[in-house]
Each structure stands twice: as C-alpha cells, then as structure tokens.
Symmetry: C2
Subunit: 414 residues, 2 copies
C-alpha cells in the first residue's frame, strides 16, 4: 500500500507558509506501515492541482490532498477532485446546515462564501468537521482513492486519525507493520555520531532492516532513528529493542531520551523524582527556556517561574548580580542564585550570553554562560561557544543549558 | 524561466523534520521573478532521488536540490547527480583540503567520512562553503542545470544568495520582475477578510495581475499577499502601491504592518517612539512573549525584561497579586502593575489564562486575560476566548496581548 501527498497552496510554493501538514501525514502513514514515496507542493491553479494529483496517483494506491478546501476564491481542491472523478459538484444541504449552525452557536456572522464549502463532488463521501467549517472528502477514482482535508493543521489532524487512516488501513488489508524508534542525542556532531555507529551501519546495510538515519534538529538535538518492518507488532518491537541496545552500546553517553522525549521533559522528570522545583533566569534566550518548559502540560508541578533579566539593571536590581560584566560564569551563577531565591525554587538555572549581531563585554557572538544553583548551596557554571546566527544560537543555548542541568541531576541521589 | 525544487531526505517523508528549505527557496525565486510550479520531497533512495530530479526537470529550466550532501552513508545526492549527468564522481583535492583545514582551525577531530564530501561529479562547478563542510554543486545537464546545496539551512541560505540566484538570473536573461507585498492583519477571520475585499477581488480576477491571497499564520496573524508582475522594478512598485491603497481602504483597521513586520516589532517601535520601556509578566505563555520580543535585535533598547509567574505563589510573592483566583482581569492588571514596578519599566504587560488540558479557577480552556499598566497609572484589561489546543492557544495569546497593547499605544501622543 502506497499513499502519496499533495499540499495545495501558492503560499507554500512562494514560501509564505511552510508545509508542515505533509510532514505530519507522512509520519502518520509510516506509523501504520503505509509507504509514502512522493510528496508534492502545488499552487492555487486548477490545471496544476489536477496535474499534481494525477502525478501523485500514478505510482500509489491513494493520495491525500491537503488545503484548498476553504471558503475563498483561491480554494480550488473541490473543483480539481470533481474534474479528476469526471463528475459535477453538488450542493449538500446537510453540510450547509452544519456550517450555518456552527456560526450561529459561536454567535459569529457567517460570510455567505462559507457555503462554498458545502459543494461536494458527486459520489464523494463526506468527512464531517468537529472543529471547523470545511468538511473533508473521500473520493473514489477507479480502484484508487483521493482524500481531501483542510489545510488548517488541527482540523486535518482530527480527520486524519478519525477517518482517513482507518479507511486506508481497511483498504490495505494485512498491512505490514513499520515502527520507528528515535534515540534523542546531544553532545556530538552528526558525522561523529555516524562514525561511532560505523560498526553496526555496515551490518544494517547488509540486512536492509532495520534502517538507521540521523536527523539534526536544532534545540531538539540530533535524532538517531531506527525504523523496522515486520509482520506483527510483537516482531517489530522485538527487532527494535535488539537494535536499540546495539545503538545505545555505542552512544549511551549522548542519549538523553527516546521518541517524544525532549531535553526539557527529561529535566522536569529528573527534578520531580527528586522533589525539587525549578526557577530560571534568562538573558540571551529572553524567555525561550520558559516557553519550552511550559509547553509541557503539568510543568507547574515542578516549574515555579523565571526572571527574564534582559537588561543589565534587571540582573543587578532583581537578581542581585554584582555590577560589572554580565556575560561571565560568575554573573551566570549569581543569576541562578538570584532566581532560586526570588522564585523560592530548589534549583536555579541561568543563561547569559551573546546572540549577536554585536559582541558584548568583550565576548564574541555565540558565547553562552550557564549557571546552576542547587538546594544545598552548591553552584556550577559552564561557558561554551555556540555556532549559528541569532536564532540558531538562542536555540542551542536552550538545549545546552538544560543538558548541563540534566547531567548534574543524574549525579544526585533520588 | 522556471525552477523546480527537490528536497532530499527520508526524514522529510516520514515527517521527522519539516522541509523549510524549499519554502525559503520558493520565496527567493519568486522575489527575482522566477516561477516554481512544483516542489517535491523524496527519500534517501538513489533510484527515487534520480527519478524525482528528472521529474522536476521535465517542465522547468532548472532544478534546485537540497540535502543529501552530508558525510554519512545515507547522503546520496552526489551519486544521483552523476548518474543523471552520465559522468563519474571524482575526488577533489582542493575541497578535501578545505574540509581538513576547517576541522583543524576549529580544533575538532575529523571523522574520515567527511572526505566523502570532496567527491564531485565530473563537469560540475563547485560552490565553496563559507560555514560548513559540504560544498554546493552546479551541474549542467543538456541545456538545463541542477543546483545541489546542503540541507543545513544557514549553509543553504548563504549558497542560494551567493551563487545559485546570480547564476539563475544570468541564465534567465531579462527576467520579468515579480514582487509581493504582504499586509499583516489581526482581528478578523480569513473568510470575513475575503468578504471585505470582495469588491476588488472580482476586478483582480479579470485583470489577473496582481494576484491576492490570504495566509493564516498563527501568531503571525492573517497575511494578505499582493503579488505583481511587471517589466521593471519601478512599474512593479507603482502597481503594488496602487493596489496596496485599494486593499487598505477596506481593511485598514486590521492592518498592523507589512512584509517582515511582526506584532512584536511594531509594538517595540511604538514604545520606542514614545520613549517608553516595557516589562512583562507571563503566566499562560510561560516566556513565549519574551522569546518573541527578544528575537528582534536591539530589543534591549525598549524591553527591560519579564517575570514568568507560572505558579500562583510567584504571582502573589513577586508581583504582589492579591491571593485568590489568578485567571481574572483583576489579577492580570495586578500582574502588569507588579511587572512595571519590579522591572522598573514605563509600561507593564501581563498575560494570565488557561491553556489546558484542564480548566482553572472556573475558567474554560482558551480563556485569556490581558492586563496593561501605563506610566501615568492608568490600567487596562481584556478577557477573550481563544480557539485551539494548548500550543495554538498560547500562540494566539501572544499576538492577542501585543495587539491590545498596540491599539492603546496608537491612542497615546508621541
């Protein structure tokens, strides 16, 4: 079973928004053992949308089309589906009513063009909305099928799991299982990781299963992904765990988690296991560490809060840092102690550095100083030179600081 | 002149990383009047990479290939290019030396596999690196051309502007100019925006130039993009400004900026014009507002810092909020006043709300309270119900709060 993906929208080709939908769809397909070998982006042009969908259908059993179902004049996916199916569009009273009711219950004025979304190609099955207005569509074409979903991510996610994946699995019959395991690493470059794993990479290439890949992912670290194929879930899990051990044996000092673990979720867990709370002080990252930590539901059990001490005066007046250079290990430690005290937290974590464009306190762009204060009064600091421009340097600062804290926490009794 | 794009990497199809490179490339091409009608993602499989590049070449004069130039075993772009050109790969001593020197000057150990990057298809022109190790390649094939660049974004950006775009423009001869103008809006839905613009949309569709599109972009707001084609820069600018005025006439109350303006950059400018500084208090957003503001170089001229008062105790003890419910307009105002005082800022901006998964203080998920304190002691507050899951609700909270502050600032004398 193969399913290709077409993302529709001139804004995608012009790069005004990034196509994250086909990435999500590809991930969902792989997880259920359906291959996706081609993913296309095409603009809001009827002839080109039709051509792209036909192309994607050529070497696949199904195509998922994302976007172009909205109410506006440049939403053309419904017309493209009807043309490929060779059928007319028909007004669907049921859908029209649902859309009208949705606006009514939200006390929102309904622009009449919203009813364009009630146009359905004859013979298509409707995927009803639970969140928005545009319904999804399942369109048979010969012995293949086209699925159309809205481009709004949370509407698409819902239809994907509720309707599209189940239908695909039913059609695929006995789908072989594909499973992936991602080992999350930090501390080595991609090529150094690759070399560490050379001994087993040769073996993997002879076997062809599992496959192994490296994914450099900014503040997510470098991911090492193992993907196995097997007849059953059980076999897939067994094969994965065998190879996980082989990979870990060569990289264990770098692995901080698996799959959806992040450096922040791992650090929160380590703190919680020790009954410790966290308070942070951010300068160079300006709130990014707090933003990452609080993206995790339940962070409030461990995370008390932070001081964004962006200007020096806030470092001096709020955190009690000695007046003087503020990009130094000493300043970072004083910030950490200040955050610990001000926020009444067990542990204080602080970041100060130079994101650029200009150097500061005689320190070059890319300098990061991290300070950490522990409940018993011990303090720790580190200084590093991080690569990249402003945004990249700030991202690396977040994971670098959390990684430093993680290693110190691992050395503490639970 | 048409140039298609191929992004190489199984991780892209499996959705383990999102393809932002082809979006960037599409944006750069459009800006210089080169059309891109097809953008493909393909996995790390030699036969499929070759097929995808051939497909992309079919209806274009050039193809840009991104990724697969790294040192590891799954980097196959060099082999694919050689196969399509029908030439062998040759070891390039100059590149090998550059790579070796780079590691030496950084005092980093060089894994031998890095020298794979010195393999060059015979007849290809090299695009030297200024940041990383893998060189880019310009590969003639018949009367067309293939450009290969690394998948590491900042390395690709550099090669794109330094080598690929100039070469494309030279080949395209008199490229007609394509220019876009983006009006950044906040406060209306996409369909309501569309209806406001109905009068001119019909006119635009008859003319065919400029084109108009809507892009819903999370905390970037909803973008209204005008794209014009013209023979010269001057004509393009004139046409754009004519239509900018027509669009603004119907939407001006919603437009907060243009092109690269963001709500945070606009708010910082308004504060700076009034000689005011900003201090923030974040609960529901946990640092995201600070992270956005400090992504702007020079923010320190205006932004003093913030208090991430994630737990109630920090609101009470650090910001002086009255004990009691912390998701209310009153609490938001007290947080703003507390931030203003603690951070010695002219203006205090505070956010408290419920991102979920659970409700809080009897307020449903999606509730956002914003508080603002002005230098003369006046305070303001708002309460809204925002849509979406945790991440989306937090994003909307950031732009919602900054938009509220923007409107209040516009009413203040400079």
């Amino acid at each position: 079973m193969k399913c290709n993906v077409v993302a529709v929208g001139t804004e995608l080709l012009l790069g005004q928004i990034v196509d994250t939908n086909s990435s999500y769809i590809g991930e969902q397909l792989a997880a259920v053992g359906i291959g996706s070998h081609l993913q296309l982006k095409v603009g809001d042009n009827l002839a080109r949308v039709v051509a792209a969908i036909r192309l994607a259908l050529e070497d696949a059993d199904a195509v998922i089309i994302c976007g172009g179902l909205g109410p506006t004049h440049d939403d053309l996916t419904r017309d493209a589906l009807a043309e490929i199916m060779g059928v007319p569009l028909e007004h669907n009273d049921h859908i029209a009513q649902l859309i009208t009711n949705l606006f009514a219950t939200r006390n929102r004025y309904m622009a009449p063009n919203n009813l364009n979304q009630a146009q359905v190609p004859r013979g298509a099955t409707i995927i009803e909305q639970t969140r928005g207005t545009a319904p999804g569509l399942m369109c048979p074409v010969g012995n293949k099928v086209m699925y159309a979903m809205p481009g709004v991510p949370h509407e698409m996610y819902d239809m994907m799991s509720r309707a599209v994946l189940p239908d695909l699995l039913e059609r695929s019959g006995e789908a072989s299982v594909i499973k992936s395991l991602v080992l999350r690493t930090w501390g080595e470059s991609e090529s150094a990781l690759n070399e560490r794993l050379d001994p087993i990479i040769d073996e993997l290439e002879t076997l062809g299963n599992p496959t192994l890949a490296f994914l450099a992912s900014g503040w997510e670290g470098i991911k090492v992904r193992l993907t196995v194929k097997a007849a059953t879930d059980t076999e897939a899990d067994a094969l994965l765990s065998t190879w996980e051990h082989k990979v870990r044996a060569l990289t264990d000092d770098l692995v901080f988690g698996t799959n959806t673990d992040t450096m922040e979720s791992v650090v929160l867990k380590l703190l919680e296991q020790r009954g410790w709370t966290l308070g942070i002080a951010e300068s160079v990252t300006g709130g990014l560490v707090g933003g990452r930590i609080t993206s995790i539901p339940g962070a409030s059990r461990t995370f008390r809060g932070g001081i964004i001490s962006y200007t020096s005066e806030v470092k001096f007046d709020v955190l009690g840092v000695d007046r003087g250079p503020v990009v130094s290990e000493q300043a970072a430690i004083q910030m950490a102690v200040g955050a610990q005290r001000t926020l009444n937290a067990s542990v204080g974590l602080a970041l100060t550095g130079v994101a650029g464009p200009d150097e500061q306190d005689g320190q070059p762009v890319g300098t990061l100083c991290v300070g950490i204060a522990f409940p018993d009064g011990r303090t720790f600091s580190s200084i590093s030179q991080l690569p990249g421009q402003r945004d990249q340097m700030r991202q690396f600062s977040v994971i670098n600081a959390l990684s430093f804290l993680r290693k110190l926490l691992l050395a503490e009794p639970r």
